[in-house]
Amino acid sequence: MMNKVELLSPAGDLERLKVTLLYGADAVYIGGQKYSLRANANNFSLEEIKEGCDFAHKLGKRVHLTLNIVFHNEDMDEVEEYIGQVVEAGIDAFIVSDPFIISYIKTNYPQVEVHLSTQNSTSNYKAIEYFAKEGVDRVVLARELSKKQITEIVEKSKVDIEVFIHGAMCTCFSGRCALSNYVTNRDANRGGCAQVCRFSFESGEEKEFTMALKDMNMAEYIQDLIEIGVRSFKVEGRMRSLYYLAVVIGTYRELIDRIYDHSLTEEDMKVFQERLDRVANRETSTHYFMKEADYTDQYYSGRSELSNQDYLGQVISYEDGLLKFYERNYFEVGDTVELFTPKGDHIEFVVEELFDKEMNPEEVARHPDEIYYLKILLKQEVPEYSMLKVVRRKNESVQSSSL
């Protein structure tokens, strides 16, 4: 194994950028306030892009900016000026789908990488040859490819290859879908996708027609993808929560590191998979990787999303045996919880003493966003953005709980 694979995280805002980099992402991809396919995420102002780049670069990490809408005439008016501004702000790579934009960037800013967006649904080595000649540095592959196909593409391509490893999936080829335009008038390819593929449709049969997909989870094939020579692993979800991103990125960080230092055990793998399963709000599949996508990769009963109440709190500080945190979900004295940190620590303990912000003893924490304290003796420091999650409720048996 040569260069270590890049773990690439989504970041919908500056806080997510910081959290995911601290939890082990090597790079983040973000959207500016223009030209990004998540027009309804918070997205980054120019000042925030600069702050995010500064933060990442101090850690030796990178920031990729999505510029991957399908451009209309009017979108072209100011894009060249904007490209100059974000280059100045310090971004390391653009994620682009429009070949005119690729050509413009490579002509004017050759020092900045250009990555071909999955919006192009690039699915073969011959198309990659075209884009390599256009100066593209990396291609984000279509999500419809098998292990064999990805392997052949990596072998035959002169550019870096990036694949999605985790998160939500489009039912149709990315870029080849305007369902949202026709149902909601929201332009799918300019950042307005309304996820119509997760709607239910009257079918004339006894059940409604649905086509929603299970999420992708490639944890069990990360070693295969590393051995194939994939350069970057992308996690989907610029609009996902801090907690979700911390768990997913932290887990993949540990998994990748253990593969590289040859310390990965079956027990580790089980723990990692359980963490990823538990934070997910949908069932998962590896989709096309080992088989043609089939019946089992879809839902047939409308939206099937679970609400996750595991996230208990975000740590503010730890001093003198007191853990100060913002509460996120209800928990109580006697619950078994886990403190996990950006450094990869996972500390499980039973809540014995809980206090409100005035240091009055409490039996339960029931007010989201309010400050609480936990008494706990720890040997190590607890860095900012450490988090608390539930392991077991006090009335729950050990057998019925998971990580």
Binding site: N40, A127, C172, G175, Y182, R186, G204, F209, A293, Y300
Partner: protein, 283 residues
């Protein structure tokens, strides 16, 4: 302005009041209801003096590249007017083998601005089939500002999406019933109907409402639009008459106002010709 048609019944290639035909190449094209083998295309080309375009608009996989290369080389011997492509592998193969047949940039929902049209023209692509989710005003601006030869689909059931998945088969598998190759579904809140067709390549989604662009043909003529297209799918009942009338209408410089009146029967959907999409829901 030239008129091209894409038929949904092979016998309708006998309609000759057109400037040319679009034939979907079997196994190499999607989002068409009628496809033709290479042999059928060869046969047809040998008997017509009209323009012939071939659709080769799949997203190709590695294992299809060899066959694609072979078929593009064979098509190159037929003096076709052009080949519609989605996948950039087609352009790369044309360049690699110095194939002479012109290409049509046909990335369904992506052909939306003149700068990218000009980019492809600079790469040797002669034609562009404009996206169907842009307004007439945007189309006019593209025609005015681009060097590429533009095509606009004016009367058709628009292609809306394409999935590699066998979505109809999976749906009926869940129901425990024999599958179909075609189904109409309806989004409940907006009552938007889609027609889904499935074949070996995957599932094509069409809007199950015909776009009636008869009213914009005159605008396109005035904008010096080089090509308009009518697709037969969904119009089978009066397709031949519609094509003949449209051809005459265009030949007569769109002065016969009774044409637009006559074809109000197609319906009142003008798709996105006069409706802009939005994409930012919150500020």
């Amino acid at each position: 302005m030239k008129l091209l048609i894409e038929v949904s019944k092979k016998e309708d290639l006998s309609i000759d009041s057109v400037d040319g035909y679009i034939l979907a190449l079997k196994d190499y094209s999607v989002e068409s209801v009628c496809s033709f083998t290479l042999e059928e295309i060869k046969e047809f080309v040998s008997h017509t003096e009209k323009e012939v375009f071939v659709k080769c608009n799949k997203n190709f996989m590695n294992e299809e590249i060899e066959g694609l290369t072979r078929v593009l080389k064979e098509l190159d011997t037929l003096s076709l007017t052009g080949i519609f492509y989605y996948d950039l592998a087609v352009l790369e193969i044309k360049n690699e083998y110095s194939l002479k047949t012109d290409l049509v940039w046909s990335q369904t929902h992506m052909v939306n601005n003149y700068k990218t049209c000009n980019y492809y023209h600079s790469k040797g692509v002669k034609y562009a089939l404009l996206g169907k989710e842009i307004t007439l005003e945007e189309i006019q601006e593209i025609i005015k500002n681009s060097s590429i030869t533009c095509m606009v689909e004016v009367i058709s059931k628009p292609s809306v999406a394409f999935s590699k998945r066998k979505l109809i088969t999976h749906f009926y598998q869940d129901l425990g019933k024999p599958s179909k190759k075609e189904i109409v579904v309806r989004e409940k809140m907006t009552d938007t109907p889609y027609q889904l067709l499935e074949d070996e390549s995957g599932t094509s989604f069409f809007m199950n409402v015909v776009t009636n662009g008869t009213g914009v043909i005159k605008d396109l003529l005035e904008a010096e639009c080089p090509y308009i297209i009518i697709r037969e799918f969904g119009l089978e009942e009066y397709f031949k008459e519609l094509v003949q009338d449209t051809y005459s209408y265009v030949q007569g410089n769109c002065l016969d106002e009774s044409y637009v009146e006559k074809y109000k029967k197609i319906g009142d959907s003008t798709n996105f010709f006069f409706k802009k999409t939005i994409y930012r829901v919150k500020k």
